[in-house]
């Protein structure tokens, strides 16, 4: 086993793979630009973008830092609600509302994270889940602002004004490209974070916490910062969801939405750059297909979860990457 590992370490990845890794954001952008042209349902394509971004934010924490959070619905939901509330109740312009959603995700992440990182290991999943339920009840009860059980309605956005151009947001294709531009920006930021020294520290903490601490890194701070960054991605995804659906259902906050991020990440391959997106795409496509002939989609979600955990822990993209490196 030990010799195997040494052998792995000495091997150079193929130049092709290295090139693809270096230009991963550009390649992904290219793909995302062509994607709606081959995809028959534009609304589904937008959902894949949004949930892909959500899973991406989750993956930063789970895949790269190694912390399993079951409270990401609170970050996603806070982004969606705050963006929606800014538009519905205060008439903010759309770009500011998106910014508010992103900040809301970070703020909620800061509060949940500050409490949850005080505990270690397996506690983390329980505490984040409990705190997200708390956020759920708070939003549920603030009926005047959030619409309570009925969700927030009327997040209507007909036109967006981009540098003086009126773009029809109701047109599926232009809506896709507007949301896509945010997603590509997020991918680029994430890629830069991961390639930065801080990104290396994140993975170091995952691999060996004690050694990272001994090397002089403040492990708690790294965890909190990563959680907040994760909150920014999820908050942005939530804000885009509010604009896309033009309503925010209360289920966005429910802990099953947290499970969704876990599922997509696991399915696509946790700790891989494109895994969450592929997971989100496969998950949502399957959901669309299966829902046609049965209303018991949850059963398949559960089964997929168990199959992934038992037989397929690297996920789709993780397995592909492994094959390519071998």
């Amino acid at each position: 086993m030990a010799t195997d590992l040494a052998f792995e370490a000495n091997r150079q990845p193929s130049p092709m793979l290295e090139w693809a890794t270096r230009h991963r954001v550009a390649l992904a952008s290219l793909f995302l630009l062509v994607f709606p042209l081959v995809m028959p349902f534009k609304a589904l394509a937008v959902m894949i973008l949004i949930y892909g971004l959500y899973a991406l934010g989750f993956n930063l924490l789970f895949g790269y830092l190694g912390l399993l959070s079951f409270g990401h619905s609170a970050l996603f939901g806070a982004g969606a609600y705050l963006c929606g509330i800014a538009i519905v109740h205060f008439g903010w312009p759309w770009y500011l509302a998106i910014g508010l959603g992103l900040v809301a995700g970070m703020v909620v992440a800061l509060v949940i994270g500050a409490l949850a990182i005080r505990t270690r290991g397996i506690y983390f999943a329980m505490v984040t889940m409990a705190l997200s339920q708390c956020v759920y009840y708070l939003f549920y009860q603030a009926v005047d602002l959030t619409g309570g059980e009925n969700g927030l309605r009327g997040v209507n956005l007909k036109f967006v004004n981009i540098f003086g151009f009126q773009v029809d947001f109701l047109d599926p294709l232009s809506r896709y490209y507007i949301i896509c531009s945010f997603v590509i920006a997020a991918l680029w930021v994430l890629s830069r974070i991961l390639a930065s020294p801080f990104g290396a520290v994140i993975e170091a903490v995952r691999e060996n916490e004690a050694r990272a601490r001994a090397s002089g890194y403040d492990v708690m701070l790294v965890r909190l910062l990563t959680f907040v960054l994760s909150g920014a991605f999820c908050g942005l995804a939530g804000a885009l969801l509010a604009l896309h659906l033009s309503t925010v259902p209360i289920e966005t906050m429910h802990y099953e939405t947290s499970g969704l991020a876990v599922m997509m990440c696991l399915l696509g391959g946790m700790g891989t750059f494109f895994g969450p997106f592929i997971g989100a795409a496969v998950f949502l496509l399957l959901e669309n297909l299966v829902s046609v002939w049965t209303s018991h989609w949850q059963l398949f979600v559960g089964l997929a979860f168990m199959v992934c955990v038992l037989f397929f822990p690297r996920g789709i993209w993780g397995t592909v990457m492994e094959r390519m490196k071998a």
Partner: protein
Amino acid sequence: MAGLTLDLIGMQLFAGVALGAVYVLLAIGLSLIFGMLTVVNFAHGAFYMLGAYVGLWLMAHGGNFWLCLVLVPLVVGGIGLAVERVLIRPLYGRGIDYPLLLTFGLSYIIVELVRITFGKAGFPFDTPEVLQGAVDIGVGYFPLYRLFVIGATAVILFGLWLFLERTSFGLIIRAGARDPLIVRVLGVNVSRVWLIVFGMGTAIAAFAGLLAAPLQGVIPEMGGTILAEAFVVTVVGGMGSLLGAVLAGILVGVVVSMTSLFAPEMAKVAIFALMALVLLIRPQGFFGRAGLMS
């Protein structure tokens, strides 16, 4: 606040203890399973719900409540045994997150299967006739069934205590929670112990679900909400500690019933505030051992 008397507070305190009894049973199962197997059972709420539904089915097929109290834990505990043996056992040694994710997926399946079998709508669950009515407990008339819930929980706790402290198998469980490796070296079949502990945990969860059924009715989603609350109890009490689970369960029950008296809209949020407070002051919980989680 007119009408707020000491008697009312006393009554609410008792109601809190009855509510807390259900939390205690759930948290004890979670804690027992975690302490031994280091598995956080996200399907615990689903087993709780399953307990109520199996009870419902038995009642509809001519069983009575007392028979249910015995049969429900046996049936659901049996399912728990199968789950551990077939699904969770392959995951030992593969990282602490995998069993958690597996049980999370399992809870989806259990809930959906119950929805398919019994429908999405909920059912009322009749309080057994002998336990209807109320008794005078000094500060006012208190529903007899809630007293029964407190009593039944006390019996289960006492039985569990006897089992863990006074039997040789209990000794193995306690030793296994401290150091499974040494216990294995001593020639004990630890896998079998883990199997039984998981079965016991799920059986107690099912028992709790059955006890709670007459109080709040039966719906497929009943396990989801209470799971988060049971997590709060385990975090407050300290994971792996049975005494902690008992005290924290009662405390959480009392906090819920007291806030619903004084500020009903805050009742749902209060217990999470309590957890936040405990995490700030004592992250390992009341009786949790520091370093258990690492």
